[in-house]
């Protein structure tokens, strides 16, 4: 099955209906199970994310966007349901192996950027590759290259807390790309940026799409949701996907 994938990819790009990169089946996520304050964040999600497309999850806060995002990105495991990545069932994998898949497949850009203070921009970018134990020089060169591509080459030695918001986000993006993942996940990427910086982000997003990355975002920002780059918008409410607002914009 997986052996036939590359051939299918070329065919599918032509008809704009690619094979699902990620497939979710009846995903539930509950917190505080069995206690009086049990909270069910996701109540039966079925979703397919096609390869090399930009998908936006939107919905009010508390709708389960973030929970879904973290399950798709292998940050957490569903309470029940199946997650398939390129056809492989990964929902039963222990953390040790899930993490290995995650760091090779997904790059994360968090809303708060989550850079480690006191370290330089360059070190922050290199950090996700530390557990892989590759060659240090190669890693540093790759990180320098990514920062240069994001027009941050001159700031690579600066501590991250000295950088502006936009620069910090670009460091976070470089960090997400360091392990050359296929999928980029960004949580509310424009929430902390003004319009000019948001447009700059959309420019970077375009480049990522050109590079063939699959992108998944959460956002309320009309600038993002209404962008021509976005192929799909999935709206969520109360832990479920709202069926009729399942829009194909492109």
């Amino acid at each position: 099955m997986s052996g036939a994938l590359p051939a299918m990819k070329t065919v599918n790009t032509a008809v704009r209906e690619t094979a699902p990169m990620i497939e979710l089946k009846d995903i539930h996520k509950a917190f505080n199970q069995g206690q009086h304050n049990e909270f069910r964040a996701l109540k039966g999600i079925d979703l397919e994310l096609p390869e090399k497309q930009v998908t936006v999850l939107c919905g009010p806060s508390g709708s389960g966007k973030t929970s879904l995002l973290s399950i798709i990105g292998c940050l957490s495991r569903p309470t029940s349901g199946r997650v398939r990545l390129r056809g492989r069932d990964i929902s039963g994998l222990p953390e040790r192996f899930l993490t290995d898949i995650r760091r090779r497949t997904f790059g994360f850009v968090f809303q708060q950027f989550n850079l480690i203070k006191g370290m330089s921009a360059l070190e922050n970018v290199m950090l996700p590759a530390y557990p892989l134990g590759g060659d240090w020089r190669q890693l540093r060169d790759a990180a320098e290259r990514l920062l240069a591509e994001l027009k941050l080459g001159h700031r690579s030695a600066a501590r991250v807390e000295w950088l502006s918001g936009g620069e910090q986000q670009r460091v976070a993006i470089a960090r997400a790309l360091i392990n050359a993942p296929d999928v980029i996940i960004a949580d509310e990427p424009t929430a902390n940026l003004d319009t000019a910086l948001s447009l700059e982000f959309m420019g970077i997003l375009e480049k990522l799409v050109d590079d063939g990355k699959t992108v998944l975002l959460t956002s309320h920002d009309p600038l993002v949701v209404g962008s021509s780059l976005v192929q799909r918008v999935v709206e969520m409410r109360d832990g479920r996907i709202v069926p009729h607002v399942y829009v194909e914009t492109a």
């Binding site: 509950a30 917190f31 505080n32 199970q33 495991r77 569903p78 309470t79 029940s80 349901g81 929902s91 039963g92 994998l93 222990p94 953390e95 040790r96 192996f97």
Partner: protein
């Protein structure tokens, strides 16, 4: 009891080790009962996190015990100065009935712990944790061993009175002695040497054969254990004589002393690691046929086999060099 820092340290180490493992036991039981990898329930996630704690605790305890084993022998040797008639570790250990059992239990624990760590290693590298229940059952089985060892150590140290007259290695391992030690030491040199080298040769060839054909894992383990015994008998019966260049000095501990250039470490280090690797191959074998492990286990076992063969060979070479360099002539 003799108040001595090293004794306090050893007792502390066994006490903490036993307490940590005993504390881990309920968690191990919980994992054995409720483990369900297919589930994503919060309990399963919590159990999964616990596995990290248990592995860390077990590794810590076993690492501690390896160091403690060294310290135990070291300290026994040093304490000989305080015990009437004791001239080295043998004298100290035979001061009461718990010395040698404590040492032997510690050696057994060492080998058991290495086997457990090898199984743990294999398990943690397979995405479905196929040996998880097995390894925690085994961990629970190791707990009594640790407790027994700690108890023996306590009885041994608490029972030492400085004015007890003990036998030194000269009398324990001399030919007139009817105990096992004496019996081993009085094995005639030529048969002992033949047994020593032939068992070692088998223990070197078996893992090499295993590496080549992939069969005979249990034979490798059995021969490794046998070679360990043969090596100890060999050290007692003739190797020690060559090292000390004295026709009646049969001590297996004095080799560790600076007077003999710490030669013992060169003997015991390869011997213990070779035996541990050989036993590890046997410990893995029951799981070699499990789906998901049919590739991983033989690959690791092959590496262990190469290591075991190499270490046994090294041991045999070092022993031979020691014999060749000795000025003592036992065989005309």
């Amino acid at each position: 009891m003799i108040f001595q820092p090293a004794i306090i340290a050893l007792l502390l180490a066994s006490l903490v080790s036993a307490a940590l493992l005993a504390g881990a036991a309920p968690y191990a039981l919980e994992i054995i009962r409720f483990w369900d990898l297919r589930s994503g329930s919060e309990r399963q996630l919590a159990l999964e996190r616990r596995t990290y704690l248990l592995s860390t605790v077990a590794s810590f305890v076993f690492a501690t015990q390896v160091v403690a084993l060294l310290l135990f022998v070291f300290n026994a040797d040093r304490m000989a100065a305080m015990i009437v008639g004791a001239m080295c570790a043998v004298g100290t250990l035979s001061v009461n009935n718990f010395g040698f059992p404590a040492l032997i239990s510690q050696i057994v624990l060492f080998f058991a712990a290495v086997c457990w760590l090898i199984i743990n290693h294999v398990d943690e590298r397979s995405p479905d944790y196929p040996l998880l229940r097995t390894k925690y059952v085994l961990l629970l089985l190791l707990l009594p061993l640790v407790l027994v060892m700690a108890a023996l150590q306590f009885r041994f140290f608490l029972g030492i009175k400085a004015d007890v007259i003990t036998s030194c290695c000269g009398s324990l391992f001399s030919e007139e002695n009817e105990k096992l030690g004496g019996a081993l030491a009085s094995v005639p040199v030529r048969p002992a040497m033949i047994g020593f080298y032939s068992t070692l040769a088998l223990a070197i060839l078996a893992p090499l054969y295993y590496r080549w054909r992939g069969t005979g894992a249990y034979v490798v383990a059995a021969l490794s254990a046998l070679a360990f015994v043969a090596a100890i008998v060999g050290i007692l019966s003739f190797l020690s004589l060559y090292i000390y260049e004295h026709p009646n000095h049969h001590c297996p501990f004095c080799v560790l002393k600076p007077e003999y250039g710490y030669g013992g470490y060169w003997l015991y280090l390869p011997l213990f690691s070779a035996t541990a690797a050989g036993l590890g191959i046997g410990a893995l074998q029951p799981f070699a046929a499990r789906p998901g492990l049919s590739e991983r286990v033989p690959r690791l076992s092959r590496r262990l086999a190469g290591f075991a063969a190499g270490m046994f060979l090294l041991f045999a070479l070092i022993a031979s060099v020691m014999i060749a360099r000795s000025r003592l002539v036992l065989l005309g």
